[in-house]
């Protein structure tokens, strides 16, 4: 239960960090909060030659405004994001999801960008980025590119980043004040990885759904956007929405698996139910308001 030997480096600037990644030629792994990477190192499931610690890069921390978006530095700690009044006002569902990320003790070290870059399929942060339509900014010595969260994930712990690229920002597009938030997960105990979970946001204009972003976690090899459900919801008068029908469409986009915690069938059954219930409750609250 000890990591294999590695060289460690903790630069203080993005430029230096990118240079280390470039020089390492694929042999470096980025260490942010370490709350998922350190177990992988301890279990020797990950054995990098170089561990690049970004905790001293101040430019990667904090919450700021970008164009029509809230920009979150990837090295922002989950506990700080959870306490951010700015995030709670702009992206209430992100705050809600954060309270389910790990435990108090792991949120004190864990970061938003670490969770997103690692891409554990059952984690809340990747799915929230997918649901809200976040854009991930990645930099290397070759340049900067912006990757929609929906195009970021390839499989469990696999994403489209090149070995020399570093996540430098997560831009969450603005959602209008008063939008509806959707969040529910089923886990064995609070803070554990979800067996099944869904997260999303809806905008209602003149009694109709004007914008929808919904994603699953724990329901396949990556976070999964409920695209069919989103497209069907768009333009519908909220009084005409049948949550069960939308839940069926949402389940159709998933690809859950069997593991020793739950079967794929269990995940589908529970997923269908929490989706319909969460959507129904959110719309009923809105109808009553």
């Amino acid at each position: 239960m000890k990591p294999a030997p590695f060289d460690y480096v903790a630069p203080t600037s993005i430029e230096n960090a990118c240079q280390v990644l470039a020089d390492a030629g694929g042999g470096a792994t980025v260490l942010a909060g370490g709350q998922t990477l350190m177990p992988l190192l301890n279990l020797r499931m990950s054995q990098p030659f170089i561990l690049l610690d970004i905790n001293k890069v101040e430019a990667l921390k904090g919450v700021s405004r970008a164009q029509n978006a809230t920009r979150v530095g990837p090295a922002t700690r989950q506990c700080e994001a959870l306490a951010s009044a700015e995030l709670a006002a702009a992206l209430p569902v992100l705050t809600q999801a954060l309270s389910h990320v790990g435990h108090h003790q792991t949120r004190n070290r864990g970061t938003i960008g670490g969770s997103i870059a690692l891409g554990e399929p059952a984690a809340e942060m990747p799915a929230t980025a997918v649901a809200l339509g976040a854009v991930i900014e990645a930099r290397s010595v070759r340049g900067t590119r912006r990757i929609p969260a929906r195009e970021f994930y390839l499989g469990p712990y696999m994403n489209v980043l090149e070995p020399d690229e570093l996540v430098t920002a997560i831009d969450y597009p603005d959602w209008p004040q008063g939008h509806i938030t959707l969040f529910r997960e089923v886990a064995q105990r609070p803070g554990d990885f979800a067996l099944v979970g869904m997260v999303g946001a809806l905008v209602i204009e003149s009694g109709r759904i004007a914008r929808a972003g919904i994603a699953w976690f724990g329901m396949g090899p990556t976070p999964i956007a409920a695209v069919q459900a989103e497209q069907t919801l768009l333009g519908q008068p909220i009084d005409a929405i049948d949550p069960q029908t939308i839940a069926e469409l949402a389940i159709a986009d998933t690809a859950p698996f069997d593991d020793h915690h739950a079967s794929a069938e269990y995940r589908r059954t529970v997923g269908r139910r929490i989706f319909a219930r969460t959507l129904g409750e959110a719309l009923n609250i809105r109808k009553a308001a």
């Binding site: 990591p3 460690y8 709350q35 610690d53 506990c79």
Partner: protein, 162 residues
């Protein structure tokens, strides 16, 4: 730390005392505290962040010492369970509450629980009973069944352990 290296000289404050050492980059803070600094109250259980026994306080926050490298604690202020009571042995209110409510049996998980609750209770703003209970999801106890720990938290929240 601008060039990749496998060994580092680190210096940190542990329980109010300065400690410096030359360590391998791959050494966890938990192993450093136990093996190099001699604070064997740091209990390493699962070593992958699940059990919570190794929780210590780094710069005021409760963190898993198995999920942090010792080199990352360079320059930090670290408190282990050995540094919670006063120098004359007077127990911290958290320790008093756990003791009076029989919240430990074998005691393996206790140092982590003491550190989490102490970190939460050190600010001016006292945590609610719900906040303290929620933080206990980060600790696994395999013998008391948690009820003593719950009662200790109720007592702490009510301010009865001062």
């Amino acid at each position: 730390m601008s060039e990749p290296q496998s060994e580092f000289r680190v210096e940190m404050t542990i329980n109010g005392r300065r400690k410096h050492a030359t360590i391998e980059a791959r050494k966890s803070l938990g192993d450093f505290l136990r093996d190099d600094a001699g604070y064997t109250g740091v209990h390493l259980g699962c070593e992958h962040g699940v059990c919570g026994a190794c929780t210590v306080i780094v710069d005021g926050k409760a963190v898993r010492s198995c999920l942090m490298l010792a080199v990352q604690a360079d320059g930090c202020d670290v408190t282990t369970v050995e540094g919670i009571a006063q120098a004359d042995g007077t127990l911290h209110p958290v320790q008093t509450a756990l003791r009076e409510e029989h919240a430990l049996q074998c005691g393996f998980c206790t140092p982590g629980i003491v550190c989490t609750l102490t970190a939460l209770n050190q600010g001016d703003e006292k945590p609610s009973e719900e906040q303290m209970l929620a933080a206990m999801s980060g600790h696994i106890c395999r013998c008391t069944g948690y009820q003593g720990i719950r009662r200790a938290i109720t007592r702490l929240a009510a301010g009865e352990a001062e």
